[in-house]
Amino acid sequence: MKTPKFLLPVAAAGVLALTLSACGGGGGGTTAGADAEQGLDGRGPITYVQGKDNNNVVRPVIEKWNAAHPNEKVTFKEQTDQADQQHDDLVQNFQAKNANYDVVSVDVVWTAEFAAKGWLQPLKDKMALDTSAMLKPTVDAASYKGTLYAVPKDSDGGMLYYRKDLVPTPPKTWDEMMSMCSIAKENNIGCFAGQYSKYEGLTVNTAEAINSTGGSVLDADGKPNLNTPEAKAGLGNLVTAYANGNIPKEGITFQEEQGRQAFQDGKLLFHRNWPYMYSLATTEGSSKVKDVLGLAALPGIDGPGASTLGGHSVGVSVYSKNKATAVDFLKFITTEETQRFYATQGSLAPVLSALYDDQELVAKLPYLPVLKTSIENAVPRPVTPFYPAVTKAIQENAYAAIKGEKTVDAALSDMQKSIESASAGQ
């Protein structure tokens, strides 16, 4: 008992538990459920799963639905506000074939993965929905291999925030914006910044740069397509701007909030960010740019650049038993009335094209016309079931390129090879 040997099994068990416990939920694997056809006509109570409802828009919508459908009540299962955790929670419940996760909110970048795993019910035939009134890029982002797997719920796109007091007319192209950087120098502030810290935001910004010069990360077949002059020009724009100081050196540490802070403190001439920043920059007491905040579409080669699409779609789990109710609820979420409520109450960008020209809404959310241009020109982030690997490949190599540790050519070719390897499976 009192020999060192006694410790070994204990240490072994303890250490193994610590390192492996995270993987306990694995197992299962993936089967395109043959019993998935079940429940297409099923009606009854369902559960709606979504991340944290920060602006209290989900509960009122559900209450309204429940009042009208006493026999098909919707229960709200609220997840955390961390996208990664929401993703992992959905994966676990899909793997467990949980029939209680009927309707789920999916980030635009998860759609392909969930569809390819066979977890989302294709929205066709009996489950078909009309998406003609919706912005096309949002519908594309919710589709996989030409089939709709989820219906767009809210959208998001990047916009260019600028200082009206220093720049009378906003730049239309990237080169024009770079030429205006002398204004920033005269005023002793940084010129332009997006999000270049090594995280999901860097994928967004890199994809925007590449798409804006006419390149694309993946081609129509989902194969990487990065060894192109267009992609080189796109990533090259960011690399050159960082090297010559047009993007300030602290930009490499920026996520959304750090960039917003810098812009609000008056330290940036141009800033790429999401619409959420608008109300904060115009109302926060500490904001020094309240009255001089300008908004424009992202700059491209000869016109608006290609924003990366954000937002969420709503899909139906193949394991749901009440799919008929679920699809009705999907329709309910995308009615003009609900979409208007999402926009006014939650500042969520609508997916219905008509609402962007709605006078009443524009009065409330003045950025809508700019955002419409942004989303109409938006390109979904690479639609691929290997998204987690693709985004890592982009981040890793774009980060090295921007910091000057790698040439643009080497970074793009490594990106290409990494994505090829990830898609080759194991």
Binding site: M1, K2, P4, F6, L7, L8, A11, A12, A13, G14, V15, L16, A17, L18, T19, L20, S21, A22, C23, G24, G26, G27, G29, T30, T31, A32, D84, A115, A116, K117, G118, Y144, S197, K198, K249, E250, I252, T253, Q258, Q261, P385, F386, P388, A389, K392, A393, N397, A400, K403, D414, M415, K417, S418, E420, S421, A422, S423, A424, G425, Q426
Partner: protein, 345 residues
Amino acid sequence: MATELGPTPVKEPASGGTPIHHGPKGVGEDNAIASQGKWAAWLLAPTIVALAIVIVYPIISAIVMSFQKDAGLDPVTGLFTEGGPAGLSNYTNWIFQQCAAPGGGTVACPPGTLGSQFWSATGTTFYFTIVTVTLETILGFWMAIIMARTFRGRSLVRAAVLVPWAIPTAVTAQLWLFIFAFEGIGNKLFNTTILWTGSENPARWAVIIADTWKTTPFMALLILAGLQMIPADVYEAAKVDGASAWQRFRMITLPLVKPALMVAILFRTLDALRMFDLPYILTEGSNNTTTLSILVVNQLRQGFNSAAALSTITFIIIFIVAFIFVRFLGANVVEQQTGAGKGKK
């Protein structure tokens, strides 16, 4: 304090209780002991079942998974299909940094894949472990010696020292993230413009500073517990013999506190080898701060089976380190307890 130091004294009566069986006993006591043993088995059963469910099952499940291929995509249907048995390939792919090649077979992992980061992550993990544990041991020892003295407000100091340890790591990381921001207080205070989370050495030191700040108190308290078990008369005798302060420290304090110190270092080392939250929140693993645990979590999102293999490799690495400590460096919880028991009596 109670939770961290608790196990050491609590285990003592448990292990001290067993010798009763070996003690001298009368013939009539045999039956009583046999039924006692049955009772004991019944009373222990729930714990063993619970341990089997929460520890044994996940471990075996993970090991089984690690010999399965990750799901691959069927190019025709666009749906994922089961990968089938993988043999040892998940393991060899990590160790030799091999990734799947587009046409089948494997190639050296291109930069940007997780597979290309195995050895750098291993190196980073050990770098963090060695630097943080060394710093924490030195600072912790120093703090323990101060706290062992009698002075006004000693209990206040002891309680205050615990504050960093009491804050959850995720919160610590978030606080340090603010401090290390470009416009943060770190740069303001020293009038520097260091990109703490944006360049390699500062990023690594940001993690080391935050980790040392957080866990030195743990070290200090474990060492303090060891220091307090050294009887004062030993020092007095040494003083009478004319030993200098340095000699007293080297010849008395160090050898006598060694068992406690080794256990403290062992705990901290095992903890540091699985470091995750601090670098994950501070730097997201950029600038060579990706530890093995971060790599496992990233891989988890790309394929469970390969992640299971990686976590098994991580386990083996940590196990080897623990083994070396216990076997060769004399970090021995049990003997240390016996010593402690004798000291008290």
